[in-house]
Each structure stands twice: as C-alpha cells, then as structure tokens.
C-alpha cells in the first residue's frame, strides 16, 4: 500500500529495513536466548542516524514526528520487537522532555538522545501501582534547592542501559494524584541504583529493571514541568507514545506473517504447498487484512497528531516556551481516545496474527529454532504495557461518553 511517503520517509523505511535484515536478523535469536542488551545493534542504529528521526533539527534530530518514529519502529520490530524497543524507549523519555521540558531542559537532554549517545527510559510503575498510577508510593521531599527521592520503581524498559530517566514521585502524598511530580534523573546520581533484572516471556533483548532510590538528591531544576503536575505529564506522554506500541505491534505481526508466508509456500503436504489449502489461504488473507487495517489506522492517527504537535514544537522553540504552552496557545486537542484505539487495535491484531502464524506453521512453528514462536511471545507485551488494553478500552469508553455529553450540552445551549 502506498501511504504517500516523502523521499526522506521512504529512505527511513529502507534504511531501517536494511539494518534490521543485515544486522539484527543474524543476532536476534542470540539476544533472545541470552537476554543481554544488544549494544552492538544500538551502535549500528546510532551510526545510521535513526535515534533522532522524530526529534527537531534544533536538537540534532531529523525533524520528523510520531509518524517517522512509527515508520522505523515498525521496520525494526518486523525483525525483532525486543531490539526495536531499545530505540523506542528513548522516545518515552524524550517525548515528555520535548513536550513539558523547559527550553533549558530540552537543550540539556535532547541532543544526546537524538544522536543516540545516551539512551533514555521512563518509569512510573511500582510493585503496588500499575494501571492505578495515582497510587504510587515513591516520595520526593524538598530540601533547599534539592529534592530527596526515596522508593522503588519496577518494570523499567531499557533500565540500567539508559542514562536518562523520567521518573514519577509523590511530592505531596496528601494530595494523591495531584501530588505527583515528574523528575529527570541521570544514571550515576548518588542514591540511584538498579535492583532486580526481570526474566521475561518476550522482548528479551531489552533489559527490564527495578530502579531503587535511596536518599537520592536531585536539584529542583530536574523537575519536569511543575510540581504536582506529574500525572498530566505521564498521561500526555502516553497519548504520544501509545501509537508507537501500535507500530511495534504492526511490525511484529508483519514479521510473523513474512516468515509464515515464506514457509507455507515451500512446505508441502499431500504433494502441494500448504499455502494452497483454502484453510491456510484464508488465514493468511485474514492476517494480511488485519495488519493493513492496523497500519492504516496508525498512519491516519499519527499524521493527524503530528499536524498539531509539530507546529507547536516549532512555536515553542521560536518563542522559548514549553511545547505544552504552545499546544495550549494553538488550541491543540488531547489524543487520548485515538491514541488508545491505535494501541488496542494494533496489539490485538499482533496477538491474533502471531498466534495464527504459529498455528499455520504447525509443529515447527512451536519450536524455538524457528522464528515464529518468538513473534508470538514478543506480541503479548504490546497488549499489556503503556496501559493494558482493558484500561485503554476504559479510556476510549470514558471519552465517548464525555464527547456525547458535551455535544448534547452544545446542542442544548445553541
């Protein structure tokens, strides 16, 4: 399908595909098995200029947006969703800094992320606080020009490998959700250490770590946006990041289908390729159709989001204000509903497609020597992280009701 990509976008797709096939494919099983962080591939991604495709040129990026990030995420995930995540987590760190960071914070943190010199990560989850983020227990207590951070965060993707972290603490536990504040914390800050490394079902090339804060002093200048506004920062970050999970899911689904199509065309039973059986053919057709539908929803949504985000970024840089302020000035809307739709739809497609691909490949599809079962394991996380699909449906439903109520009010008022 031709989605009307620009020359630069086409080159991004071609280069990330070439890199995935030539560099990632030969090592994906090794990293899946060893669960080591793929630093050699990170270096290749860095040299190829892929870390900054979605960041402004002012900070060393290629000037694209969520669309470009999605293009390369899909191509990398098509070969390995775990290794792709090592690039994608940097966007989870840089998006809140881009949108909510002061011009000084943007200048201080974004260039190293855009160049790939430093990896970034984002962590809000705690052992007792997952979907219910507002119940987090980690605290930040003011001490002069500093805050003292205490608590444990877990399930941090690209944890330990990353240099820059956006982490959430309660600066005022009495205020609950309104007492949460986002901080930028750098690796090496005294009192900030790494705990348990998780053993996962899929995306095993990426490191998932516990972050431990024990009397960790960070300057007030590291507060992202405003004290008590952390949940707003987190929610907006997820609005921008969830389509990325969609792109990852689409890539995983496409990769599984590529392998399955190749196999079912050569695998013969009863003297004919199994792809020629109607039972398999219809499954292939259904997989391809679902993937294309997910991709169309993804592209349409992120294009619309970029059309609002990118002018706000431009305005913020020109006027030396935060992007969030520029978005308010430009009357940009929230994308919670649409962004959740992309994530829910694409990740459900990925789970369905990869499960069907294992089925179509039969016994060999279940074996770890064959690449298809890994796609199925990798797909599962896309239904869970950055907000479970159950939570996304809650969000979509809430927005539907809110929008209906608001249009009723408008109709009554007019």
């Amino acid at each position: 399908m031709d989605y009307g990509l620009t020359e630069l976008q086409r080159e991004m797709v071609a280069l990330s595909r070439e890199l995935a096939v030539k560099k990632i494919k030969p090592v994906r099983e090794k990293y899946d098995e060893s669960e080591e962080f793929p630093w050699d591939i990170v270096e290749e991604l860095r040299k190829a200029d892929l870390f900054g495709v979605y960041l402004p040129e002012e900070y060393g990026g290629m000037g694209g947006g969520l669309f470009e990030l999605g293009l390369i995420s899909e191509q990398l995930s098509r070969t390995c969703g775990g290794i792709a995540l090592c690039l994608m987590t940097s966007s989870l760190c840089s998006m809140p800094i881009l949108v909510f960071g002061s011009p000084e914070q943007r200048q201080r943190f974004l260039p190293d992320i855009a160049s790939g010199k430093k990896l970034g990560a984002f962590c809000i989850t705690e052992p007792g606080s997952g979907s219910d983020a507002s119940s987090l227990k980690a605290t930040a207590v003011a001490d002069g020009d500093h805050f003292i951070l205490n608590g444990v965060k877990n399930f941090c993707s690209s944890g330990k490998a990353s240099e820059t972290y956006v982490v959430f603490f309660s600066t005022n536990p009495k205020r609950g959700a309104r007492g949460i504040t986002a901080f930028i914390v750098e690796k090496g800050t005294p009192g900030f250490t790494f705990g348990k490394k998780e053993k996962k079902m899929g995306i095993r090339a990426n490191s998932t770590h516990e972050l431990v804060f024990s009397d960790c002093r960070v300057p007030k200048a590291n507060i992202l946006f405003k004290e008590g506004m952390g949940l707003l920062v987190a929610q907006n970050t997820f609005d921008f990041a969830r389509p990325g999970v969609g792109a990852q899911a689409i890539g995983i689904a496409q990769g599984a289908l590529d392998e399955t199509l190749a196999y079912t065309r050569v695998r013969k039973q009863f003297d004919v390729p199994v792809a020629s059986f109607q039972a398999i053919g219809h499954m292939l057709a259904e997989c391809a159709t679902q993937i294309e539908a997910a991709r169309a929803l993804f592209f349409t949504t992120v294009r619309a989001m970029d059309a609002e985000l990118l002018p706000a970024v431009k305005k913020a840089i020109a006027e030396n204000i935060t992007v969030y302020e520029a978005m308010k000035a430009l009357n940009c809307r929230r994308w919670s509903k649409e962004s959740a739709m992309v994530k829910v739809f694409s990740s459900d497609v990925a789970m369905k497609v990869t499960t069907d691909c294992v089925q179509m490949c039969g016994g060999i599809g279940y074996m770890r020597d064959f690449p298809v079962e890994k796609y199925m394991r990798d797909a599962k996380i896309t239904q869970i992280y950055e907000g479970t699909n159950q939570l996304q449906r809650e969000e979509i439903a809430r927005m539907l009701v809110k929008e209906a109520a608001s249009s009723e009010r408008e109709a009554a008022g007019s």
Partner: protein, 267 residues
C-alpha cells in the same frame, strides 16, 4: 592520496533466470544495486580514507544513466565524488573494451584530481562473474595489479603492503603506487549508510563522461571494440537428490559408505 573505487550495477537477486530461447540473462524489472562484491571494495576505500589523512575517494561506474543509483549508494557511505562513464557506444563491451573505458576514466580522474594512488575492485561481479576486469585494467594502465587481496596491513601515500590469498597460503606483497587491487569479502564488513549520508548523496553532483570526453572512438568500445563472442548461455543443471545411507548401527552405515565410495572409485 586519491583512491578510485569501481562499482558495477547488477541485479540484487542471486537467482537470475535465463531466457530459454536466446540464452540471455533476464534482468529487466529486477531490483538492482551495487554488485555485492564491490561493497567490500567501497568499504576498504573508506577505511583507507580513515587511515591515511587527506585521502579522497572517487566512485566510478560504467553503464547507462541508471548506474547513477549505485554511484549515489557509494557516495551515501562516504565516498567524495562520483563519475559515471556513459555513452550509447559503450553498450555491449566485453572485458577487453570495458577495461579500456575504465582505464581512460581512471586516467581522467588522475588528470582532474591530481593523480590516483589506488584503484579498487570487488573480486568479480555477481552477474558476469569473469573476475578479469582488475587485471585487465592494470594491464591497460601499465600499473601493478593484485587480485584476491584479503588484507592491507600497511598503507601510505607512496606504497602499500597487501596480503594475497592463494589456494596454498598467503603472499605478502609490497606495491609501489599507483596500483590496482581487487579485494575479497574476507577483507572487511561493509558499513551501512546513515540517513544523513543518504540524503546528502542525493544532492551531490555526479559527472558523466562519454566516449568523446575520454578520447575514445566508437571502434574501440562496445561490440566493435570487443574480442569475445558469447556463443551460448545455459542454466547450471540442478543437482540431483542425494543418497541417504541407512543402517542399523553407525558401523553398518560406515561400511555401506565405504562400499559406495569404492564403487565410485573415490577410494
């Protein structure tokens, strides 16, 4: 030092069909790219550029206007300039005529850029596969040429030391420059382009030199200047099924294998 690296545009696929009637290779519509063997030559040129300060790399390709894409692919990787040697009269050149075109092109690069120290080729093309071009260009230029180079341990402006792979070992050769080399794929691992490199390469000027610019008349290039006739081309016959040796125990299988080898007079 100035290095010239020669690249050929060939089908990207390894399985190319032959027309059963004419025997000609059917390349129309196939995706093309830099001949994979030439990628090692481009990489080695770039590594020499990184080793020897002041080195510039020029990419040269002979062929129609479409060859622009392989020149730009090499520019995207970090080569400095590109020249397309293109003229309708060049069509149908064999190695004999092609080596003359390339030699003239290299001489013109030397004239316009202040000399050439090294010329690099891949070991062969993945379509014609003659593997003769390196030696032929060396002969045309009157420069030493070495094929099957697997390492360049020392390189400076005036001389290089190369390791040439042979069936029974390795030769270590010191060459006074200028010289012509073809490199093996063991020599390096080609890099990928960067996004910025790819975009910059699109805007870089690529010169085109035709027969007149190279001082070549129509009778020494193309079919007229060639000495080889392709009489017939045929696909390689596909390999038959193998023989599976069965037996109760490993000893039985070994005995059956030895019996078969004796029967075939291999032992």
């Amino acid at each position: 030092m100035n290095i010239v690296v020669c690249v050929k545009r060939t089908p990207a696929s390894t399985s190319v069909a032959l027309d059963p009637q004419t025997g000609a290779v059917k390349t129309a519509g196939l995706p093309h790219g830099i001949n994979p063997f030439d990628e090692y030559a481009v990489e080695e040129a770039l590594r020499l550029k990184e080793r020897i300060p002041g080195t510039k790399v020029a990419v040269l390709s002979v062929g129609p206007a479409e060859n622009d894409e392989v020149i730009r692919a090499a520019l995207a990787l970090g080569c400095d300039t590109g020249v397309l040697l293109s003229d309708p009269a060049f069509a149908g050149s064999d190695v004999y005529a092609l080596s003359l075109i390339l030699a003239k092109g290299i001489q013109k690069v030397a004239e316009t850029r202040g000399g050439v120290g090294l010329v690099l080729f891949g070991r062969q093309s993945n379509d014609g596969e003659s593997g003769h071009t390196t030696a032929a260009v060396g002969a045309r230029l009157g420069w030493p040429s070495v094929i099957s180079v697997r390492k360049i341990p020392e390189a400076a402006d005036a001389a290089v030391t190369v390791e040439r792979l042979r069936e029974d070992g390795t030769d270590v050769l010191q060459l006074t420059l200028p010289a012509v080399l073809s490199v093996l794929k063991e020599i390096n691992e080609p890099r990928l382009p960067s996004l910025r490199g790819k975009m910059a390469a699109k805007k870089m000027p690529v010169e085109t030199w035709g027969a007149a610019a190279l001082g070549l008349s129509a009778d020494v290039v193309g079919k007229a200047g060639s000495r080889m006739d392709v009489v017939k081309m045929a696909p390689v016959p596909s390999r038959g099924a193998g023989v599976v040796i069965t037996g109760e125990t490993p000893e039985d299988k070994a005995q059956a294998l030895v019996a078969k080898l004796k029967e075939a007079k291999f032992i």
